[in-house]
Amino acid sequence: MSPSSNEANHIFHRRGAECAENRRERRPTSSALLRVLCGSALRTITLKNAKSLHRVATRCVILIVLLASGWSESLLARQDTLYMSVLNSRKHRLGALDNPTVGLFVSTDAGATWKHRGWTGYIRTFYTESGPDGVLWSACGNGVLRSSDNGVKWRITTGWEVTEVLKVKVDPSKPSVVYAATAYGVFRTEDSGETWKERNVGFLKPFVSDVVLDRSTTNRLLAASEDGVYLSANAGKRWQLTGLKGKGVRTILQHPKEKSIFFAGTEEDGFFSSSDGGKSWQQSNKGLKQLTIYTIACDRSDAEVLFVGTHGGGVYRSSDRGKSWRQIIEGLDNLVVHSLLVLPSNPSILFAATLNGGLFKSTDRGEHWSFNSQEEGQVWGLSAR
């Protein structure tokens, strides 16, 4: 793995200061403003203070005006930063001079605009995620990349051994711990990428496309492998097959509220759920016409609602935690959906990342879609902070 060096340490120590600087620069969002308005109102009503009630009324009027004026969508969404990883583009031609820019794009206005960050060329950027400390991690063909300044400068944190990285997952409780799911298995860093260790003991076939950190138990992980779901109880030191043997598992998601529930999407075998922390799995494909599932997303505001992105069938929605599915593809011109994102601050807004059709957006929980960005782009991964 990449050895530490003075320079690496310099970057590492500098990162904290840069993050703090970034946070200072961030303008207050409108949703923060809403919280101020509503929060103050509630507090003042409790106090039953007449003078305050007048102030509350005034604030409510302002709020109603804001909502009515159609700003609500963007205002509510503005607290989210969205990360779109564009792997490649169908417009790309070997050696062409006008190849489209690919890689990481960032939006802070719910996808109204996107700004490119970092490397512009094709380095196989599969997925990007921001840690709770604001540090960006990109899963790329070139390894795991890290940026501490919102994507302006990057460092490849891995050495030559780590390649074709399909996903990175930052430990939300300890942002210096990051897992990389790669075509060659799982790698882990506990020092913000200064060193990486291979964590593949137990895998029979180490092609891993996704890793999930179980929020209920520290160091408990689930991995989506080409040969089933693997479980580790010790931060990846050892893995054990826990279910779906022989099935190509493409993605795993933990339920946002009930931590014992997990969902898995597979190649050709459809959707599975587990209610015992991934120990046993039940298939649930009612309504699904296409059984290759690349991505699963949930609506944090409604524990019953799930979405899946499929190969060839676009997006499906479930209102009963995956027991049954309904296709929602109106306006979705490309039906190979590789990543889905429900906007955390406004679950009415969904993004569907397609392979070779670019990014689509819905403002009505997936009922209608419209093209958003990256014409003919292979948008591989989406994430939000």
């Binding site: 990449s2 512009t120 380095i123 990057w154 076939k205 092609f207 080409e226 190649e267 290759t292």
Partner: protein, 606 residues
């Protein structure tokens, strides 16, 4: 007595003819310099900006200002990733003492601002890390903020060195991954030659030289007048049926003095380097006075899914004469997309100097073995850059339903194709310019290509298709039109639609068997016996050489009653090259001369 004398005279004459092309070291070096002058000659006058034009101008001390201008212009918008890294650092290294300070600064800045893709396969990594190593040596003691990847000069140099040593180790223990590629030979030779010439680290300089020797030795035993012989990991159309079009042939011209003169850009930087081919390798490359069998073990490119082994073995068998070579891999999917499992190549009839066959297979499963993107979209992704991949008429590619069994100059190829697979036919390539292509009542297809005779016995019914080169198939694999050619001749495609299938190939030269009539007569009395039912495909055959070959698909090979165990194949096994699997040591022998490349000790023993 007179007859014996006459035969001896003939033998001596043949030997003398064969040796005539071998020159002594002094002459070789003089002729090498002439070839260097020729291959670089056009590059110092070309006005189009290019790294080779720049490098030659610096080396020839000609139009330095033009070279500087070109360099700065190209570096305004670098592109090409590792294909940029190698020529750009090469041009820098040959010209750094002549270029202006401003140009130097522009070069340095490019390594700070342009972020190249590292690639996903051995040739990419080899170029990427060789160039990065050399650049890190040239720009030492810089912090990560001065490099595109955020790593310091020391970190980059160290990482590059680690990878390169790792690659050398696996290549000299279990074999090269992208082995024997007529098209990808330069992607290995160029970086190694640059290391050999320019590395400041003595270990890496020695390793660069040794690895270049290793690559050239491997090529030297398996070429015929600049054509790579046998099975390959990767080859593009049209070089697969026009062998001298491949870049490896340009290296053969420069270093072996064989093949056709060329101004190929691939050999410009090597031509400017101080690397010189060891005499023993040169001798092996040009001496075809004795027929020989050469066996090798290589390895499959990294299998990332749908497999239980990361680098399964590849077994290669080659039979080489002065007139032709026939070689084969054992079959199956050994490389994605561009595999060439077997072929006969001969001297007669340029440019179409080959006969070969294949099952033109493709699948998401195949490419999914080697690439991490989604299996269902991978074919379209591959076709975007390798345009013929899903073409049922393609001439490159391996198949899981194909296996071979070769003994000397006899080859059996069997197919047991699963119904419903992407293509349900097999094809054979027969060049139009064969002197004879006789469909004999015995079942043999008997061909004459100068002094080389090829017999092909199809085990199933088949049809012939004449194919003129049309604009659509005159595109090469990456979709670019080929250079316009006048009066391009068509070729013959043998196609058979039977799923349980196969053929037997016999090749002989005039020296080996005498007249073409005799060859025909011999073939007529040697007819294979086959069983061709699903799940049970086998053939029994007594060769023209008197050996009995039994072959049952997929892996049961028996020669004269003895089972063949391919797993015992050594890394190199032949009269010229020898190495045990795992040894990291290659012994190169030519008559009394010996060169040992000991990669464990990083030492060359002469």
């Amino acid at each position: 007595m007179k007859q014996v004398t006459f035969v001896l005279f003939l033998i001596l004459a043949v030997c003398a003819g064969a040796y005539a092309q071998i020159v002594n070291r002094e002459t070789y070096l003089k002729e090498f310099e002439k070839r260097v002058a020729f291959v670089t000659s056009v590059y110092d006058t070309l006005q189009t900006p290019g790294y080779y034009q720049i490098a030659v101008r610096y080396t020839h001390n000609k139009e330095i200002a033009v070279a500087d201008r070109m360099f700065k212009e190209l570096l305004r918008d670098p592109r090409g990733d590792m294909f940029w890294m190698i020529p750009s650092i090469g041009a820098y290294l040959v010209g750094k003492d002549k270029m202006s300070a401003e140009t130097k600064a522009v070069v340095r800045n490019a390594w700070k601002t342009y972020a190249p893709y590292r690639g996903d396969t051995e040739n990419h990594w080899c170029m990427y890390y060789s160039a990065l190593f050399l650049a890190a040596e040239q720009f030492p003691n810089l912090p990560g903020s001065e490099w595109y990847n955020g790593k310091s000069s020391d970190e980059n140099r160290q990482e590059a060195k680690e990878y390169l040593i790792h690659w050398m180790k696996i290549t000299t223990t279990i074999g090269q991954g992208e082995f024997d590629s007529p098209d990808y030979f330069p992607e290995y030779a160029m970086p190694m030659i640059l290391l050999s010439h320019f590395a400041e680290d003595p270990e890496m300089k020695t390793r660069g030289t040794m690895m270049t020797d290793f690559l050239f030795a491997d090529f030297a035993v398996e070429h015929l007048e600049g054509q790579y012989i046998g099975g390959y990991s990767r080859i593009y159309q049209p070089a697969v049926y026009k062998p001298l079009l491949s870049p490896a042939s340009a290296f053969a011209y420069l270093y072996f003095g064989t093949g056709e003169p060329t101004n190929s850009g691939w050999i410009v930087l090597p031509a400017l380097s101080t690397y010189r081919l060891p005499e023993v390798i040169y001798n092996i490359a040009v001496d075809r006075s004795k027929t020989y069998i050469h066996k090798e073990r290589k390895r499959v490119r990294n299998v990332i899914r749908f497999g239980s082994e990361k680098n399964p073995p590849v077994y290669k068998y080659s039979y080489v004469t002065k007139d032709y070579g026939i070689g084969s891999l054992q079959g199956g999917i050994l490389q994605p997309i561009q595999q060439h499992t077997w072929g006969v190549r001969y001297l007669y009839g340029r440019p179409y100097t080959t006969i070969f066959g294949l099952h033109p297979y493709w699948s998401g499963w195949e490419v999914g073995m080697f690439f991490p993107e989604e299996v269902k979209t991978l074919i379209a992704d591959v076709v975007a850059s390798k345009g013929t991949y899903n073409n049922p008429d393609k001439w490159t590619g391996g198949s899981p339903f194909e296996r071979t069994f070769q003994h000397k100059n006899t080859l059996i190829v069997l197919y047991d194709i699963k119904p419903g697979t992407t293509t349900e036919h097999i094809d054979g390539f027969f060049p139009r310019n064969l002197e004879e292509r006789i469909v004999d009542p015995s079942g043999w297809i008997i061909c004459k290509a100068g002094d080389t005779y090829v017999g092909w016995y199809p085990l199933q019914e088949h049809e012939w298709k004449e194919e003129l080169e049309t604009p659509s198939n005159s595109l090469n694999d990456i979709g670019r039109p080929q250079l316009e050619r006048v009066k391009e001749m068509g070729n013959w495609r043998l196609r058979s639609y039977k799923l349980q299938n196969g053929y037997v190939i016999e090749v002989r030269s005039k020296d080996e068997i005498g007249s073409f009539d005799r060859f025909k007569s011999e073939l007529r009395s040697h007819v294979p016996k086959a069983t061709l039912t699903p799940g049970s495909v086998s053939v029994r055959y007594g060769t023209l050489g008197g050996d009995k070959m039994n072959f049952a698909f997929p892996e049961k090979r028996t020669l004269n009653g003895k089972e063949i165990d391919l797993s015992k194949t050594r890394l190199f096994d032949g009269p010229f090259l020898n190495a045990a699997v795992g040894s990291e040591k290659l012994t190169i022998t030519y008559k009394t001369k010996k060169l040992i490349l000991d990669f464990k000790a990083v030492k060359v023993i002469e």
